[in-house]
């Protein structure tokens, strides 16, 4: 029977309620020529993925994107099953017996390692864990970071690295106006951090941060910004690349960074130094039983065959004394139980969103992927929209050709029964909107956008621990 009509809607399970999951739902629900039911699963009781747990608390404007997601969730054919984990509460086979199609949108959940000696010394952390901690992700809220250290290195110059450096430089008063998790606000109140280094392996022109981000670093209330003058000079290769591409924003970014070389310190209590053309080669224990210094090699830039500018190590080294290191050199997807994984790229094995069988390299009927777990961790939030559209196009082509799963219990009620049975305390979208209201109300008194719940049992208690019979 044709799927996607009022008599027999296309039944879709989406696993992972971050931007990619919502965009998949949106593309399916907003089509005039299709009737689809979308059930969005997440292992956390709360939706929005990295918009809630990744985007920095002092960047609230970016979090406005969630109101677009709420509009999708208001569709009568949309349901949210929060607090339900694939591989723990439900299996791929469970989903196969209830849905025509399954879409994996679980993101890139781990940090890539630097692969250098000393990486696991106490005091060395993945930057994403610090981010998840200050954003109140329940899995990370009990982590400890030694903020009694005065000198900190953040390895990387991508969004996450810049966020971490900026949050470390903010005053408690600035942070208290945000929705940073209470435990993090309290810990950062007692922070003794004075020197923060952001370490980029390539040059100023190649740094991934945007111009507004660079400017923001130069306007911090309680931290002077500094660069090493020689490291922000434009080398001939980068100059040529900027001219060839006509990248005016890139040229402007270099200008802004160069202007920081001539800024005299104004005596602010903290200093943020942006370093370029350096790569960590080791973390050193200088006797205190944890990170005491980071050993850096200076790089020079070369162009690859395609003209891409790369960092090549020289034979010059330096040691930077630091007691805390956050590494942010890239992310990787985590394999999902029962789903083919492409180890080389760290994604679900797929072709344009269709999950492939690892043996035959042919599509597995009814299984799809979108977002970072499909293409790797690149782009901004909105990049997931065209990415999700590509996946949905494949889904609809396959559905029209009759290539779907053959669920034995396709009724929406059957899926809900399954979820209730496995996770009686699952969180629905109306539940989440209630939690959202409570968080916002808790923040109102202190002039904050919200005060987050950071423990799952706290969230469930706030909802009255309602078991669904």
């Amino acid at each position: 029977m044709t799927r996607g009509t009022a008599e027999r809607p296309l039944r879709v399970a989406v696993v992972g309620a971050g931007p990619a999951g919502f965009y998949v739902a949106e593309h399916l629900l907003r089509r005039g020529d299709l009737v689809a039911d979308v059930d969005l699963f997440d292992r956390l009781p709360t939706p929005y993925g990295l918009v809630r747990a990744g985007v920095a608390p002092d960047h609230q404007k970016i979090k406005f994107v969630t109101s677009a997601f709420d509009k999708v969730a208001a569709h009568p054919r949309f349901r949210f099953f929060g607090g339900v984990e694939l591989g723990k509460d439900v299996s791929v086979d469970d989903l196969r017996s209830h849905y025509d199609q399954i879409v994996y949108t679980t993101g890139a959940q781990t940090d890539r390692r630097m692969g250098i000696p000393g990486e696991d010394l106490p005091g060395s952390h993945p930057a994403t864990e610090f981010v998840a901690w200050y954003n109140g992700h329940p899995d990370y809220r009990d982590l400890q970071f030694d903020l009694s250290q005065e000198r900190v290195a953040v390895v990387g110059v991508g969004n996450v690295a810049v966020d971490v450096a900026r949050v470390l430089c903010r005053t408690p008063e600035e942070l208290a106006k945000t929705d940073i998790a209470d435990h993090a606000l309290e810990a950062l109140r007692h922070s003794r951090v004075r020197e923060v280094y952001l370490l980029g392996r390539r040059g100023a022109a190649q740094a991934a941060f945007t111009n507004p981000e660079v400017k923001e670093l130069g306007e911090l209330e309680a931290a002077d910004v500094a660069v090493v003058p020689g490291e922000v000079e434009l080398d001939p290769l980068s100059r040529q690349a900027l001219e060839r591409s006509g990248d005016r924003a890139g040229a402007k970014k270099v200008q802004i960074l160069q202007s920081y070389a001539h800024r005299p310190p104004t005596g602010k209590p903290r200093r943020l130094t942006l370093r370029f053309l350096v790569s960590p080669v080791a973390l050193l224990d200088t006797g205190a039983g944890g990170v005491g210094a980071i050993r850096l090699v200076k790089n020079r830039l070369t162009a690859s065959a395609t003209g891409a500018i790369q960092a090549q190590p020289t034979d010059q080294f330096e040691e930077l004394p630091v007691g805390l290191v956050f590494r942010s050199v890239g992310y990787r997807g985590v394999p999902l139980p029962g789903v083919p994984f492409d180890d080389k790229w760290g994604v679900v094995l797929n072709e344009k969103g269709r999950v492939l069988d690892p043996e035959t390299k042919q599509p597995r009927p009814g299984e799809y992927t979108a977002g970072w777990i499909k293409r790797g961790p690149t782009g901004v939030i909105g990049t997931n929209k065209p990415d999700a559209a590509e996946t949905v196009t494949a889904m609809l082509e396959d559905a029209a050709a009759g290539r779907t799963l053959e669920p034995v219990e396709p009724e929406p009620d059957a899926a809900e029964r399954l979820v209730r049975q496995r996770q009686p305390l699952y969180v629905s979208y109306p539940d989440w909107l209630r939690l959202d209201e409570l968080e916002v109300a808790r923040g109102r008194a202190s002039g904050r956008p919200r005060v987050k719940f950071t423990r799952v049992d706290e969230m469930l208690a706030a909802l009255g621990n309602r078991r669904r019979p």
């Binding site: 162009a303 690859s304 395609t306 500018i309 072709e351 390299k361 293409r375 990049t383 065209p386």
Partner: protein
């Protein structure tokens, strides 16, 4: 964005041919996969050339007996190789200026995939579209 983000959604597939195979075989492979170019590899799967439909058309225009010729006779040997970490801005502009439609990608000497100029353009378009969309959403939703 870099080359890896394109290869990640290509399902680990790169269609190759050996230099000593015939053009007849090469055409069969092109037709079977509905693609426009093949990476020519040696026995160790190292890329040694590229064979595109254009290379074949150019020969066929002046030599009707193109079928039994060997891939090695028609292939382009002047190879530019990409690496997974190469950024798409540089890759795109190099492909445009050097008029390259297909770029084999190697990692540690091993062939890991191929990207076309169409892949690069689409990835960059999606990136820009995503940035615009994010900005628009922020502006539109801020009043709520």
């Amino acid at each position: 964005m870099n080359i890896a983000s394109i290869l990640a959604t290509k399902g680990d597939k790169v269609v190759t041919i050996l230099a000593e195979q015939t053009i007849r075989e090469a055409l069969g492979v092109l037709a079977q996969h509905n693609i426009g170019a093949l990476v020519v590899v040696d026995d160790a799967r190292r890329p040694v050339g590229m064979l595109s439909e254009r290379d074949i058309v150019r020969w066929a225009a002046r030599n009707e007996a193109v079928f039994p010729l060997l891939v090695s006779q028609l292939m382009t040997r002047d190879l530019i190789l990409g690496a997974p970490g190469d950024d798409l801005g540089s890759v795109g502009s190099t492909m445009v200026t050097r008029r390259i439609r297909h770029l084999p990608v190697v990692d540690g000497g091993k062939l890991v995939g191929m990207v076309s100029i169409g892949d690069v353009v689409k990835a960059q378009r999606d990136q820009f579209q995503g940035e615009v969309d994010t900005l628009q959403t922020i502006v539109m939703e801020r009043g709520h």
